[in-house]
Symmetry: C2
Subunit: 542 residues, 2 copies
C-alpha cells in the first residue's frame, strides 16, 4: 500500500520511535513530578488480540464496489480495517493498545479517481452503508467513530487521490487532489519556488482534505493563515449534490459555500480537491528565543505585537510548567540548582520565527524584539531552532509515555485577549482538579501557538499516571471537566482540532440550538440518508 | 427623523451637490469624448409626479405594528415610502428621477430595540407581508427590489438600532448595533484611540449591517481586510431562528455560521448586531502617487508587492482612460499639449496610502516603492492625498452627470493575477461594444482598488449619452453584456457589491445549481414563509 508502513497502534512510521529513555532529564523530571515508577511497562497488545468481527459486506457488495473503484483499490483484511477504525487521539491509542476497539469498519476503499467517489456514495446510500472519509487518520477528537444503525461501514481512504493538478505560479495558486499529504505537496511547491506555509504537527501524515474538513492551523499561521485563509476553491462531493467553489481572490456571492465545506468533518460529503494560496519560498529564516519572568508578561508582549500588526511569523509561548518540561526535554534540569535551571523554573519561554525577504525579516524581527525586550532575556536562537526541527518528533514521545503507563493528551481553545488569562487559569484549574481528584499526581502544561489581532489560542498538554483498566473513564472525566471550564469561560470549544465525537455534545453550547438546526438542515440537503460520517458534528440525525 | 435630510432622488445629503460645471476641464473632456451637448438638461421629476399607491396595510395592522415598535417608529407617508423603495444604483436613480417607480413599500418601520425585530417578523409572517431590511439605502445591485406576490411590503430601516454596546480596548473588539453608520462608529472608536479601518465609498451613509449583508470592502482593505475579516461575532434574527455567532478569534466549530450571515443580503433575516475587530488609530499616514507607462506595468508592480506581503495599505491603480478622467477632474487637460498632459494621456496612475506606526509605514513604503520604481515616475504625494480627501464626494457627481443626460454606472469583479489582464480586456471590450452599439459615444474607465496574494479586483465605470425614454433598456443591455463577459472570463460576479436583483439570475453560474439548492434549503430553514427580502439572492422561492 505504502513504501514505508505506519504503526497500527501508535503515531507515525512503524520504524520510528522516540523513547522517553533517550531523554534522561525529562524521564527523571516526569518520574518525579508524576510519581511514577518508570521501570513498569504497559506493552501494546498483540494485533491478534483485537477482535475483528467478520465484514458485513457480501461478496456481491465487494464485487460491485470493485467495479466502481477498480481492482486493488479496496481492502477488507484486518490490518486495513483496524488501521482505519480510529484516529490518533488518546482514547484511540488506549483502545488500540489494549485491543478494545468497539467498532471496526467493514471495508476500506482507496478511490483512485474522483469519478468513483460519487458512484461509491450512491452505492453506499442505496444500501444504507455509512461512509467515513479518511485523510491521514490523525484526527484527535474521535472524528472517525461511527454511530447509529448502519448495515455496514465503509472507510474511504483518499490517499490515492493525491495529484497536483495545476500550479499557477503567477497567481500563487495550487490545485490539488484532497488526499495529498504535507510533504509531497511541499515538495511539488518547493520545486517551483513556492510554499503552502501550512505546518500542523500532523503535517507528515495529514492531508489537504483533512485540514479543510477540520479547519486546521499550522505553526506559521500568523504569517500564512489557517487553512481557512489558504483555501480559495474547493469541491465537495456529497451523496445528493456537488458543491464546486470557484477560485477568485474575494467575492460577494452571498453566503459562503466554501465556509460550509471548511469544518464539514466528513459529515457533509467528501472533499475531493482544493485550490490553495501558495507563497514564494522564504529567502531568509531567523529564530529568536526569549525568557519572560511570567506567562502573563509573555502574553502581554504577544498582544502588543498583534495589536501593531507585528507578530512573528511563528510564535510559541510556553507557560512556566511547559517551559520546565521543554527545558527537561533539552537536558536542562529545571529544578536543578544551576542558574539556567533556576531561571527556567520560574520563567515563560517565547520562541519566535521570522521568514520571508531579508527586508521583511529585519523589519518584523525588530518590531517583535522591541515588544519582547522589556520583560525578557535572550536565550539566543537555539531553543527556537531546535523546536522547529523537533516538533514533528514529539507525537512519537506520546507512545513511549503510554508504554510507561502515563496518560498524556492535549486540549486546545482560543479566547480574546481580555479573557485569555482568565480562561488560562480557569481551564488549568479544572484540569488540575480533575487530574488530582483521586490523589494521583498530574501535570498541566500550556502554550500559546497562534495569535490574532483580537486574541490567541491556548494549547494544554496534561499528564498523569494512568488508572489501569479505567483509562477511558479517567480520561473522560478530565475531558468533561476541562471542556466545561473552557465553555464557562467563554472560549472556543476548539481552536483547530474540530468537533468529532468528543466535542459534538457541546456544539450547541457554542453555535446555539438554532445553529445546530441549520447545520442539520444543511446535512439533510447534502446527505439525505445521513450516511456521511455519522457520529461527528451533528451526530447523524436531525 | 434625521437632523440633516438626504435627497429622495439622488446621492447623499440634500444640501450637498457636486456640479460637473465646477470641474470645467472634466466637463470639456466629457463633452468632447461623449459627444454630448452639456447645455441640455434632464431635470429631476417633481416628487408629486411619483404615483404612490395607497398603503395596503389596514389601520388594524398599523395599530398592531405600533404596539410592537412603539409610537413614532413607523412611517407611511409618501416621502418615507419612496425613499425606502430603492437603493442608489443607476436603475434606481433613473426610476426616481423620471417618477417611474414600479413598487413602493407600504410601510417603513424603525425598530428602536432588538426585541421588536423578532416580533415584527412574526407579525409579518402571520400576514404574509414581505420584509425588507434597510441599512443606509446605498445598495447598487437592486438589492431592495421586491418580487413575488405579497399582501404588503414592510421596509425595516435599522437606523435607530445604532448603539455602541461595548468596546473592548484590550482585545480590539467593538460590539455595535447593526444600524450604526460609518461616521458615528468611527467617532466612537477614535475617541478610544481605535479605528475600524473600513471605508467603502458609501461610508457616510451605509451601515454595519449593510456591510455584512453585502460583503463590503473599503479602500483600506489591503490593511484591515474586507468586512468578512472584521466581523468576529454577529446576530441574525430570522423569522424562524436566531443565529448567534460568539466572538472568538478563530475556532474549529464545524461549518461557519458567520459566513452564512455574511452576504445574506436581507434574504435570511435581519442582522441586528455585530462584534468587529478594531485596530489602533494609525500614528502616521503617508501617500505616494506614481505614473506607470501602462496599466499592465502597474498591475505587475501591484502583483509583485502582493506576492511579497508588501501591498500598500491603500492602492488604487487606474487604467489609462481612468487616468485621463482623473487628470481632467483635477483640471489637467489630458489631451492637451503640455508635458504633464501628454504623459497622463498615456499613463496609468497608481495612488498609494500607508498607515500605522512610523516604523511600519517606513518599511511598507520602502517595499512598495522598490516594486513601483522600475516602471514609473513619481507624481509626489498630492494626487493620492487629494483622492483620499475627495473620494466620498464623487458619487455626488453622478447626479450631475444624470442632469446632463449622461448614463454613468459601475461594475466590479475580481480575478486571479494570471487572468486579470485577460478579464480586464474582455470586460472592457464587452462594455465598449455594448455602449457603442448604436453609434453612440461611450467611455470605459477601470481601476484596481483591492489586491490579494492571488489576485485583485477590477472596478469599471462606464459613461454614455442616455437614450432618452429608454434609459433602463439601454442600461440592461450593457449590464447583461459585461456580466456575461466577466463570467465567461472566469471572474467574480461581484467582488463587493453583492447579488441583489441585478445579479441573481447569474448566481448559479458562479456557485452552481447545487450551490443554489443549498442556499434555498438554508432560506427555507430560516425563513420558511419566504418573506425576507424576496427578489434578491435566491429570488424568494425554492
Amino acid at each position: 500500500m505504502e513504501a514505508r508502513p505506519t504503526k497500527w497502534w501508535g503515531w507515525g512510521w512503524e520504524d520510528k520511535v522516540l523513547r522517553l529513555e533517550s531523554r534522561p532529564a525529562l524521564a527523571a523530571y516526569l518520574g518525579h513530578r508524576l510519581d511514577v515508577d518508570l521501570s513498569v511497562r504497559r506493552p501494546v497488545a498483540s494485533f491478534d488480540q483485537i477482535e475483528v468481527p467478520p465484514s458485513r459486506l457480501s461478496s456481491q457488495d465487494l464485487a460491485d464496489i470493485q467495479v466502481i473503484v477498480g481492482e486493488g483499490n479496496l481492502a477488507s483484511d484486518n490490518v486495513a480495517r483496524v488501521t482505519h477504525a480510529t484516529g490518533r487521539g488518546y482514547k484511540d491509542l488506549v483502545r488500540l493498545r489494549t485491543a478494545r476497539l468497539d467498532h471496526v469498519p467493514d471495508l476500506v476503499v482507496y478511490p483512485e479517481d474522483e469519478d468513483s467517489v460519487p458512484r461509491l456514495l450512491e452505492f453506499a446510500g442505496s444500501h444504507r452503508y455509512a461512509v467515513i472519509p479518511f485523510g491521514g487518520g490523525t484526527n484527535v477528537v474521535g472524528g472517525l467513530d461511527v454511530h447509529g444503525q448502519f448495515a455496514a461501514t465503509i472507510v474511504m481512504d483518499l490517499r490515492r487521490l493525491r495529484r497536483v493538478l495545476a500550479i499557477d505560479i503567477e497567481s500563487g495558486l495550487a490545485t490539488v487532489e484532497a488526499g495529498i499529504r504535507g510533504p509531497p505537496l511541499e515538495e511539488a511547491l518547493n520545486a517551483k519556488g513556492l510554499t503552502l506555509g501550512h505546518f500542523p504537527q500532523s503535517w507528515e501524515f495529514s492531508t489537504v482534505g483533512g485540514w479543510i474538513a477540520m479547519r486546521a492551523s499550522g505553526s506559521h499561521s500568523n504569517r500564512y493563515g489557517s487553512i481557512e485563509d489558504l483555501v480559495v476553491g474547493v469541491r465537495l462531493v456529497s451523496p445528493a449534490r456537488v458543491l464546486e467553489v470557484r477560485s477568485v481572490p474575494k467575492e460577494s456571492h452571498g453566503p459562503s459555500l466554501k465556509e460550509l465545506v471548511l469544518g464539514s468533518e466528513g459529515a457533509l460529503g467528501v472533499i475531493t480537491q482544493a485550490t490553495l494560496r501558495v507563497q514564494p519560498l522564504p529567502l531568509v529564516r531567523r529564530f529568536e528565543s526569549r525568557l519572560f519572568s511570567s506567562f502573563a508578561d509573555g502574553v502581554a508582549a504577544l498582544r502588543a505585537m498583534a495589536r501593531e500588526d507585528g507578530l512573528p511569523d511563528m510564535a510559541y509561548l510556553a507557560d512556566s510548567e511547559e517551559t520546565k518540561f521543554a527545558a527537561a526535554g533539552e537536558g536542562i534540569a529545571p529544578d536543578a540548582d544551576g542558574i539556567a535551571g533556576r531561571r527556567l523554573a520560574e520563567g515563560s519561554l517565547l520562541l519566535m520565527g521570522f521568514e520571508g525577504t531579508k527586508e521583511r525579516v529585519t523589519h518584523r524581527r525588530r518590531v517583535a524584539l522591541r515588544h519582547a525586550r522589556a520583560n525578557s532575556t535572550s536565550l539566543g536562537s537555539g531553543p527556537a531552532e531546535r523546536w522547529s526541527h523537533e516538533r514533528f518528533e514529539l507525537p512519537y514521545l506520546r507512545d513511549s509515555l503510554l508504554d510507561h503507563g502515563i496518560l498524556v493528551d492535549t486540549v486546545e481553545t482560543a479566547a480574546r485577549w481580555s479573557d485569555l488569562l482568565a480562561v488560562y487559569d480557569h481551564a488549568k484549574k479544572a484540569l488540575q482538579e480533575a487530574l488530582w481528584k483521586d490523589g494521583t499526581a498530574g501535570l498541566v502544561l500550556c502554550h500559546v501557538s497562534h495569535a490574532y489581532p483580537d486574541g490567541a489560542s491556548l494549547y494544554y498538554t496534561f499528564l498523569a499516571p494512568q488508572r489501569e483498566g479505567h483509562e477511558i473513564e479517567q480520561w473522560e472525566g478530565i475531558k468533561a471537566a476541562v471542556t466545561e471550564a473552557v465553555l464557562d469561560a467563554g472560549a472556543a470549544l476548539s481552536h483547530h482540532h474540530g468537533i468529532g465525537e468528543d466535542h459534538a455534545p457541546y456544539l450547541s453550547r457554542v453555535i446555539g440550538e438554532d445553529g445546530l438546526v441549520v447545520l442539520r438542515a444543511l446535512k439533510r440537503e447534502l446527505d439525505p440518508d445521513g450516511i456521511m460520517n455519522p457520529g461527528t458534528l451533528v451526530m447523524g440525525s436531525a
